[in-house]
């Protein structure tokens, strides 16, 4: 059974703090994705990675960066958190040629 875990379910940070969101998958998937979900806006792709050390910008990368040092781990970094980054962050993974993406439980981040 595919398992995608995220380091925190709920997180509260202050404006200007550096924030790390961690995602780990146990199915040896090459592809990993970070989305944010906001009411009325659906799921929007922030960054994705198809391999270790590889990263590509999604639709809304501004204010974010990522790190993929190991195949199973994909980290999302908010260099200087701002209130408009308060959101639900979702990590997903998949294999090449596999259409379905498997999602983690999400991290609800609040920036005060």
């Amino acid at each position: 059974d595919v398992k995608v875990t995220q380091s925190s379910r709920y997180l509260v940070k202050r404006t200007g703090e550096k924030v790390f969101l961690e995602c780990v998958q146990d199915m040896d998937h090459e592809n990993m994705f970070w989305y944010r979900q906001d009411p009325g806006l659906g799921l929007r792709l922030i960054y994705f990675s198809y391999d270790v050390k590889m990263k590509e910008k999604g639709d809304i990368p501004e204010g974010y960066s990522v790190s993929r040092e190991k195949k199973e781990r994909f980290s999302l970094i908010l260099e200087s958190a701002s209130t408009n980054q308060t959101s639900m962050y979702l990590c997903a993974s998949s294999s090449p040629g596999q259409n379905e993406q498997f999602f983690g439980p999400g991290t609800r981040l609040t920036v005060l």
């Binding site: 009325g40 659906g42 799921l43 994705f48 979702l90 259409n99 379905e100 993406q101 999602f103 999400g106």
Partner: protein
């Protein structure tokens, strides 16, 4: 511009009746479509999918219909149950975005409420 549109933000249905969730898309290069279900405070879970070479796929109470000429797909849930109450996201795979990997493009979601 939105490539995957779910024009109904919410839908309320009586238990036992049919729920029909709709999705429209604009990109004719989409080759695979998926529906995800999401409960509050949880990640989306895959529900059912359909390839662009088919027009129907059925899995238990869930059926997805694809009308390529109209660029429209729908998810039918029969009979609807209170446990089906969730947000449903339509997603499309773009084979041209991300090369052979194909990223998914999601609609904004429809919140389904099934009333006992």
């Amino acid at each position: 511009d939105q490539q995957v549109k779910q024009n109904s933000p919410s839908l309320s249905v009586q238990e036992g009746r049919i729920s029909i969730l709709n999705c429209d898309y604009t990109n004719s290069m989409f080759d695979y479509f998926l529906w995800y279900k999401k409960y509050p405070a949880e990640g989306p879970t895959f529900l059912i999918s359909i390839s662009s070479i088919k027009d129907k796929n059925e899995d238990g109470r869930f059926t997805v219909f694809l009308n390529k000429s109209a660029k429209h797909l729908s998810l039918h849930i029969v009979p609807s149950q209170p446990g089906d109450s969730a947000v449903y996201f339509c997603a499309a795979r773009d084979g041209n975005y991300g090369g052979s990997q194909g990223n998914l493009i999601f609609g904004k979601g429809t919140k389904l409420s099934v009333k006992p």
